[in-house]
Symmetry: C2
Subunit: 219 residues, 2 copies
DNA sequence: GTCTATATTTGGATAGAC
DNA sequence: GTCTATCCAAATATAGAC
């Protein structure tokens, strides 16, 4: 019994140290860029020498994999699905806001999770499963507001990815494309659900994009 | 006179060699990834030793810069603007097709031109000017079909970038998002120009995405 | 578990002969 | 202009002492 207790304590300590290492790696990635992360710097950040890291991870790629899993898990944890109302416009808007903010608030995380920027790195099956779960739950939510066609879902991901990508690439730290989300979602939902219900819905929605803020200089 | 002629020939030869080096660098980037390009490999590809490259470029970043300029110039050269008709739907569709194909047919080029994947590299003013010219001409074309609002243009770039990004990241070599372009453009143009002109335009367009190809399994 | 020491590889870049 | 030789730095990873 005492032995088991000791083992548990040791295992807990070990997991805590691993988490500390991954946290340090993320901090470095955010500060210096994902590709600039080195074992030396990680070790220095946690008060170790580089070789000591091999007591916790078998290779640098294993650290990347743990980072990947952590990032994907963060997406799960902050999911906005208790805010869903069943109204398509509101719910889709809410989801896209969440996705774009999640991507643009941490570019390094975005690159590791959604781009292929680390040469030779691929997430393990376990880590990748977290990501696939995210996509599946997203599909469920879209289905709940009546969007079930695979092509419609692909268009949704393209729209979200495009807004996030432009925000990150062309206005990092700003909100130039974030401010477009509501209009983009209006366009999408309108196209998906049909606008025939409202006699003249185009007047208002078109104005939002073509007449409003015409004088506003984009960054 | 003879001296000038000799100088010209030498200059031409020099430019030809520089072009050869940049071509080799691009070939390596496409084969091994942008970050995996090394001076040694470039030199080997053109039949030189690594230090000889410094007779043509002052640093590796200068080679990246020349690659950037070449990629941006390729975008100019293949521009589809002699195919413009003045019809918004047709022209926008044509432009998006061009952009998405340009991006997805060469991922290394896409990464260098549109993502920030090389740590510490920024294009020179001259190279960047080519890119800005591209964006400006794109804006002119959109204006010609009545899309002038900065926000509308931003939404256009987001939509194009999103389709290209998803195509590259999730279906490289395929056409899963390329096949969505026509629908995406219909959605966009419909939202921009207003659908009030057509009594019931939503029936057809909605069907395209929600009912058509429902059984088609996405990759 | 952590360290020091080191192997190994691979880069970019420079010096100087030819 | 191109070469050989070399420098220097940085990175991953391993061996073995403590």
């Amino acid at each position: 019994m005492i032995e088991t207790a000791n083992r548990d304590r040791r295992a807990e300590r070990r997991e805590a140290t691993k988490a500390e290492i991954v946290d340090a790696a993320w901090a470095l990635a955010r500060a210096e860029g994902l590709a600039a992360v080195s074992l030396r710097d990680i070790a220095k950040a946690v008060g170790m020498q580089a070789p000591s890291l091999y007591g916790y991870f078998g290779s640098k790629h294993e650290i990347y994999d743990a980072m990947f899993a952590m990032g994907a898990q963060q997406f799960v944890d902050a999911e906005p699905w208790d805010e869903m109302t069943g109204d398509a416009l509101h719910d889709v808007r809410c989801i896209v806001h969440y996705v774009v903010r999640f991507c643009s608030e941490d570019i390094a995380r975005y690159q590791l999770l959604f781009q292929r920027t680390i040469p030779g790195f691929e997430p393990s099956a376990a880590s990748f499963a977290i990501s696939e779960g995210n996509l599946a739950r997203l599909g469920e939510q879209l289905a709940r507001v009546g969007i079930t066609d695979p092509r419609a879902i692909d268009l949704f991901t393209a729209l979200s990815a495009g807004l996030a990508n432009q925000q990150i690439s062309n206005d990092p730290g700003g909100d130039r494309w974030i401010r477009l989300i509501d209009d983009a979602v209006a366009m999408y939902v309108q196209y998906m659900t049909g606008v025939g219900e409202d006699p003249q819905p185009t007047d208002r929605s078109t104005d939002q994009l073509t007449d409003q803020r015409t004088g506003g200089a984009p960054r």
